[in-house]
């Protein structure tokens, strides 16, 4: 028999039934089934206690938010059928009636209030940082107060997954991590650690039952094994197809390769302090905008895309993608500062650094796609304008503590930033707002960039509850940032999936594979 039973299990139709009968496998649930290979197992299935990709994928199968984020980062009614801004800091969300939890209980406004309160005390408390208080007006109406006007609260609510108050209180935190129970389109059938997470469609889901009845997620860390599992029929869909396997999978008529730019923007933060930790000069050259521009022009992002990334990256035009609030139509970092060595050298000369200087790049060697290779390429590129770039590569377990503000060991930091909230405001206020000026602002401003004009636009954006106005203020901030270059955006990584041709896969901008959107023919 040239196919394993697992392969047979993942398919339906006569062939599969024949195989099943032939191998005398136990009777399986009727209907469509899909097996997906992920890069890792989930660690904990409590949506308020973890922030890693596999967990997030599971959370959105098992739970629902008030506002749903589509694959293209649009925001639609979820558990809330509508919402309105009552005054600058008050929002009212009206819940859908008759929404059932997996145990049959009905969703009530008190569950939403409990969720907010539980999150405040949890590891992921940052998800509700923009909620001052929650109150149930009646069983189906929730009033949320924000600490200050916040025009995109509904978008932030797309990341707040609603748990059942009764269930969470009854089972306690540890069991919440093992036996999740929400309103989501799938319920947990089985979780065998490091082997599989099996989900089955929840018949009473408020959107209607999912087309695929059973989804099995298998953690397969090794990229070559993942590809082999797809080719041998062990799985139907794989996450993160390795770049070197793309051509061979594409050439096979039974399979398809699906790619889409991710939200993760690789950015370099430039130190703008008076004195920079790794630059042995009395004054930090990067305080001079001309030096920052010279560095930008010396980095050949297209070469990085072609040579280092094998074509699997999208050069970033701004700090956030075009779907986001704050994106300026027609403004392109790559067109404003095209790769131009001669111009870059002139700028260095004008600024008085014709002879260049030496500094250190801090980045990871196991967090971003080809991070170490990119760092090496950057060193080569900057050497051509006289900048000696020493590389300080470290595993991610050390990196994020090392570069943490006040970043007193770093001058030049490459890291990724993604903004699934669909709004540039969060990134700007955290990464570029003057440090230490206000609580909750500038806490990851690693280059200590400070421009009162920029801050003023962020302040304005954060003091209106009108989304159009917020968008306009953020656009102004984007223009200032592109002019000042506190950070150089490099590229968005590409997400690559491969699947059997018969499976319809919808790649999502936020990377959260969602079986509810998939189908099998």
């Amino acid at each position: 028999m040239p196919m394993s039973t697992i392969a047979a299990r993942t398919r339906r139709g006569v062939l599969a039934l024949a195989l099943l009968a032939a191998t005398a496998a136990p009777a399986l649930a009727q209907g469509k089934a899909v097996t997906v290979a992920l890069t890792a197992d989930a660690v904990i299935l409590d949506p308020h206690a973890a922030n890693e990709l596999t967990g997030n994928i599971m959370f959105y199968h098992l739970y629902d938010p008030l506002v749903t984020r589509t694959a293209d980062l649009k925001f639609e009614p979820g558990l809330a059928e509508s919402w309105q801004v009552v005054d600058d800091t008050t929002w009212v969300f009206r819940l859908r009636r008759g929404v059932k939890f997996h145990n049959g209980d009905e969703l009530k406004a008190s569950d939403v209030v409990y969720t907010v309160e539980r999150l405040k005390k949890a590891l992921m408390s940052s998800l509700v940082a923009n909620i001052a208080s929650a109150r149930a007006i009646d069983d189906y109406t929730v009033e949320l107060k924000t600490p200050k006007p916040y025009a995109v609260l509904h978008m932030a609510m797309a990341e707040v997954l609603i748990v059942s108050e009764k269930y969470a209180k009854a089972v306690g935190d540890e069991q919440m991590g093992l036996k999740p129970m929400g309103t989501g389109p799938y319920r947990l059938a089985e979780w065998v650690k490091e082997d599989r997470i099996a989900l089955e469609a929840f018949a009473d889901h408020w959107r209607g039952k999912a087309k695929i009845d059973r989804v099995v997620f298998k953690p397969i860390t090794n990229p070559a094994t993942r590809t082999a599992s797809l080719l041998t029929g062990g799985v139907d869909v794989i996450q993160d197809l390795s770049v070197r396997d793309v051509a061979s999978v594409q050439a096979n008529p039974s399979f398809q390769v699906i790619t889409r730019p991710s939200l993760l923007n690789l950015v370099i933060a430039l130190d703008t302090r008076e004195k920079s930790p790794t630059i042995d000069l009395p004054v930090n050259p990067m305080r001079d905008r001309r030096v920052r521009e010279a560095i930008t022009r010396a980095i050949n992002v297209e070469a990085l895309q072609k040579v280092v990334m094998n074509g699997f990256s999208t050069p970033s035009d701004q700090y956030v993608p075009s779907s986001h609030l704050g994106y300026v139509e027609g403004l392109d970092f790559r067109k404003t500062y095209p790769y131009d060595l001669a111009k870059a050298r002139d700028l260095m000369k004008e600024a008085g650094f014709e002879k260049g200087f030496a500094m250190t790049l801090d980045t990871t060697n196991n967090r971003y796609v080809n991070d170490a290779a990119i760092a090496q390429a950057l060193a080569g590129m900057l050497s051509r304008i006289g900048i000696t770039l020493n590389l300080n590569l470290m595993p991610r377990s050390n990196f994020f503590g090392y570069i943490r503000v006040p970043s007193d060991k770093s001058s030049f930091i490459m890291s990724g930033w993604d903004t699934p909230s669909g709004d540039a405001g969060n990134m700007y206020s955290v990464l570029m707002y003057s440090r230490g000026a206000k609580a909750g602002y500038g806490q990851a401003n690693r280059g200590a960039y400070s421009n009162p004009e920029f801050d003023a636009f962020i302040d304005k954006a954060d003091s209106t509850s009108d989304m159009t106005k917020r968008d306009e203020f953020l656009k102004e901030a984007t223009k200032i940032a592109v002019r000042d270059i506190p950070m150089i955006p490099i590229h968005y990584e590409q997400d690559i999936y491969a699947a059997r041709k018969s499976v319809k896969v919808v790649p999502r901008m936020d990377k959260f594979i969602w079986a509810y959107e998939m189908d099998v023919n």
Partner: protein, 321 residues
């Protein structure tokens, strides 16, 4: 014998304590795991809250004191990442690892003994040279490469075995095992073979060397003179005496395979403890690393103890003191 056990137990406690100190000291250099668990835009208060939740808000010394206090009460700490007791994380994954390790050791023994005896008894034959050359290849090949090649040939090309994962499991005395069904066996064969190759090659070389040594001894000549057949000489007299050093090596190798089946587990997506260790190192999940390494140390101590006892049983000339 009793004194010996006491001495061993004391040594064991010492080793475990040393391991725990080492891990704590090492982990204090690898940075604060909190930063990997909170979102990058977390504020100071949110980070402080996360640290409090994880029990990382004390100094390293206090954390270690708390750890020791809890261990004495049978609590080995909770994983920062999983929020589950660290020892149950390990115990949960242990059966899968033991399964491939025992099967790998069985394969290694079944193949290595006849080949080793043959090569040791007939060192000059062409077949023996082939066996020796093969064993050299087996020692030199990196396990992950062997695994990839086996997947490519037997799963992708010939489609004889599944490429990864563990097959269906059954409960036997509360432990989940997968080798009882054909489907489960099909899943376990490739990883077990991959894991066995290095061990097999080394065992074979040791058996050969020992056999060559033993076959020169007087008692072998006497046995032959007495009229014992070739098979009896080789297995009853020769192999039995050659096995003594093998027991030591075997014990150490068993420990080695259990502790470090990591690569094989990663390649075959085998849900064992090896992957847990690697993931925990990446995540800076100290409680899991400490308990894992203490467990490994404990296992080595126990295996060595068993080997010593076995020694005395196999060879009456050896006394345990």
């Amino acid at each position: 014998m009793f004194g010996y056990v006491i001495k061993r137990a004391f040594q064991m406690v010492l080793v475990l304590w040393a391991v725990s100190v080492l891990v704590f000291v090492m982990m204090s250099f690898t940075g604060d795991p909190t930063y990997m668990m909170v979102p990058l835009d977390a504020t100071e208060e949110q980070i402080a809250q996360a640290r409090r939740l994880l029990g990382l808000d004390h100094s390293h010394l206090t954390q270690y004191r708390l750890f020791l206090k809890n261990v004495l009460q049978g609590d080995f700490g909770r994983s920062f990442v999983f929020r589950q007791p660290a020892n149950s994380l390990i115990l949960e994954r242990l059966p899968a690892t033991l399964e491939i390790v025992f099967l790998a050791m069985a394969i290694a023994l079944v193949v290595a003994i006849p080949l080793g005896v043959y090569a040791g008894a007939n060192p000059k034959r062409a077949g023996s040279h082939a066996v020796m050359a093969g064993s050299l290849v087996g020692i030199s090949l990196p396990g992950f490469w062997v695994g990839m090649v086996l997947i490519f040939v037997f799963a992708v090309k010939l489609q004889l075995f599944p490429s990864s994962g563990r097959g269906p499991t059954q409960e036997v005395f509360g432990i989940r095992v997968s080798f009882l069904t054909w489907e489960g066996l099909r899943h376990i064969i490739l990883p077990a073979v991959t894991l066995s190759i290095g061990t097999l090659a080394i065992l074979m070389r040791i058996i050969r060397a020992e056999m060559m040594e033993v076959m020169r001894q007087d008692f072998v000549r006497f046995a032959r003179a007495k009229g014992v057949g070739q098979r009896g000489v080789l297995f009853r007299h020769g192999l039995k005496n050659a096995l003594i050093p093998l027991v030591t090596v075997f014990g150490l190798m068993l420990g080695d395979l259990i502790a470090f089946a990591t690569l094989t587990e990663t390649i075959f997506a085998w849900p064992g403890i090896g992957k847990l260790l690697v993931d925990s190192i990446y995540r800076g999940d100290r409680p899991v690393i400490v308990v894992y390494l203490m467990f490994v140390a404990l296992m080595f101590v126990v295996v060595n103890f068993a080997v010593d006892v076995l020694y005395a049983l196999i060879d009456p000339r050896i006394k345990i003191r």
